[in-house]
Symmetry: C2
Subunit: 443 residues, 2 copies
């Protein structure tokens, strides 16, 4: 029986057996030992009180034990209940070299033993939130009639062109063509949406960029919904609904975890109120041009931006995005970006902008990006050529437009980025259990 | 509004607008046109009756249309309701070359346009079942307190050794080591289970085998649960519970889809009763030795097997498995296989067998496989060496045993194989929307 289940149904004083790993222990004389036990199911450890003689010479931090006894109200503070054991069996001991000891471990050290991080309270909590978000993703889309689809990982196109991509060695032997790891499932999702109307992918995507930062991974998961007959506005509504649904579910079901993260991490005290506030009001929606105007006005007031050549056409830098979200103190959708700085498949407007949208979050920056897709074959082909996209393996994608393609819109949301926002964690390598990034592939 | 939602809430005679794609149409004189419309949300097309003049010169199969009108009881058989349109707008026409026409298309032809298969009723139905199973997987494990985890795709080990694996080109430049695509998330799941107790993965895995059959893919999805403190028996219970839960949910929520598949596919009439029967009784559990005895007795009765050298130690061939499941007419767990023919990480028994289990289904063959893992560091290391497993990148996995590893058990279930069983489809390339196999990587 998992400890959380046991605590939920437990009757006091009823004899039972629980199993878990020793987080720490304290010896108070020969006949009193306190053991903090966890089996991964609770945020807090369960205190085991061993009153009878236990041969503690073999007890080590990390050992797996089975404790037989009963639950009682705790006479002391710090916990409501404790487990009084009349027998404790060491099922499997842990070597003294076990890296996860009682003391605080730095993030950097834990990354070096990332296969063992789930044995710390912090990473159990992060995994609990991730699990809740995974379920929330499927619940949100399932309940709205979306069909989950698998976008392939092995692919012959690299979607937007620009990204660095991983290539399979000797793929000519296996597939008779150069084979890459997918950077996005969007194109495949568009084709499916053309038959199933509303679809979503949730799976891994890859970038081969030679960067090693706290914000990038070589392998990460994306949520990519795509809706036929949809437009930019409906897509923005979907983005807002999706994020609010997920935040609401995490607030409801992970309250203890959020409280722990809020107490534990630096500058994270306002985690819960930040999430609650997100739910209370509509997100801001402004155009890129309005954003540029805001920045120009601020500049005119004397504020210095590092990137100070602010005008229509620039990519908004982090500092610009931060200024805008801090001004509103809310999530901000920015729409209608200049066509030249966005992907070729986004639908052109008449004023050199495209039907694109990015969602910016205070502190975190861009969390999602989406667009309405170009639905006209000739226009899309001309734009792909203008943007220098190699079309060898993309004809199937362009030609979708020939067969009843009225309109389609969708967005991409990085799962690990979303978890960073929901937990207040600062390094994306601490969100995914086995981080892969430039120069780093362990375990 | 999606058509299925519209049909559910519809009030007769209330004016509304629906959108979808033209599956087929029939012209009965100038002022009566019947259009079969689908938007991917229903198994059956909705019949649109256009009584007023519609310029059908532009109407083609595959076109996207918007129909305004109301629902009424259908005067004729074939459907309960029909949609009487007073206006039909062609939103996006389809070129006459649209490959999905009204006639029946063979599976082989449809594989060549696999990006457009979701526009046929059959593949809409398959995707509906797949979506239900996806949700069912997460619901089953979530409701039992399992934590969903991401197993990495990029990896430096190939798990069992034997399989052909894909390698990333120039991975030394990116990761300073040979980098492969994962064949299984089990090792990573074991490490996580050691902190979270019960975990599961659901994600893509890869095999580079140069085979091109109806049963194999280069890229497919696996469900891999792993439970600490668990043993072989509990693992077998979990396998049975998982399959029954999924079958039950599909029977409940995809009845129309199953009925369609049962009518449409050859030799699939008993699909629904096959699934219902599965739920009604416990699965059979026999040991490998008992299976061998059964085969020997059958052989002694004069039955000829192609592989007739039946004795302890052989890999059971398809024909052997078929004989066993046909004898019981039920799902059969076979346990305690010879250690020499199973993976090195499975726990040894004293009689040259290991704590392994395969689940065999009538007609389909092996659907899942699992084991209790070796928990002793020295034994595991010796066995890995005996089996010739390269240990360069596996020390982290072996060393998990040094830190409170009492016992762990889990199984792997191929998602596409599971869908084949649930639908009665015969070719795995018709289950995944974008099949990748030897020599084949399109779209």
């Amino acid at each position: 029986m998992r400890i959380n289940h046991f605590l939920k149904i437990s009757e006091l004083n009823k004899k039972t057996q629980i199993k878990g790993w020793v987080k720490s222990f304290q010896v108070h004389g020969k006949d009193l030992i306190f053991i903090s036990l966890n089996d991964g199911s609770t945020c807090k450890d369960l205190q085991i009180v061993c009153k009878k003689g236990l041969d503690i010479s073999l007890l080590t931090v990390g050992s797996a034990i089975a404790a037989s006894g009963f639950l009682q109200k705790s006479p002391k503070g710090g916990q409501d209940v404790e487990f009084v054991a009349d027998e404790v069996v060491i099922l499997a001991s842990a070597d003294q070299k076990f890296p996860i000891q009682k003391k605080e471990h730095g993030f950097e050290f834990l990354r070096e033993v990332s296969h063992q991080r789930a044995r710390t309270r912090l990473f159990r909590v992060i995994n609990a939130v991730k699990n809740e978000v995974n379920y929330s993703i499927h619940e949100f889309f399932y309940s709205r009639g979306f069909i989950w689809i698998q976008a392939p990982i092995l692919t012959s196109n690299n979607c937007e062109g620009g990204s660095d991509v991983f290539e399979i060695k000797n793929s000519e032997n296996s597939f008779k063509k150069t084979t890459l790891l997918s950077v996005s499932g969007q194109f495949h999702a568009e084709a499916m949406a053309l038959g199933l109307k509303d679809v979503y992918t949730f799976g891994p995507t890859f970038r081969a960029e030679k960067s090693n930062t706290s914000q990038h991974l070589s392998e990460f998961w994306m949520i990519e919904p795509e809706c036929s007959f949809s437009n930019l506005d409906e897509n923005i509504n979907l983005m807002e609904d999706f994020l609010k649904f997920t935040v609401n579910r995490v607030l409801r079901n992970c309250h203890k975890e959020l409280k722990f993260l809020s107490d534990k991490l630096p500058n994270n005290e306002d985690l819960i109120s930040k999430l609650e506030n997100l739910l209370s009001e509509p997100f801001i929606r402004i155009s890129y041009r309005e954003a540029i105007d805001m920045l120009l006005k601020e500049q005119a007031r004397g504020t210095k931006f590092e990137n100070n050549d602010i005008k229509f056409g620039i990519d908004l830098a982090s500092e610009h995005e931060k200024y805008i979200t801090s001004k509103f103190k809310k999530a901000v959708f920015i729409t209608h970006y200049p066509r030249a700085i966005k992907a070729f498949y986004m639908k052109d407007c008449e004023d050199e902008t495209v039907l694109a949208v990015d969602l910016l979050m205070p502190d975190v920056g861009e969390l999602m990006g989406g667009s309405e897709r170009e639905s006209d074959f000739e226009k899309l082909k001309a734009k792909a050529e203008e943007f220098g996209i190699p079309l060898d393996h993309l004809n199937w994608y362009l030609e979708l437009r020939k067969y009843g393609y009225y309109s389609s819109a969708g967005f991409g949301c990085g799962y690990e980025r979303l978890i960073m926002y929901l937990t207040g964690m600062k390094n994306i390598k601490d969100i995914i259990n086995y981080p892969r990034s430039y120069g780093q592939l362990n375990f």
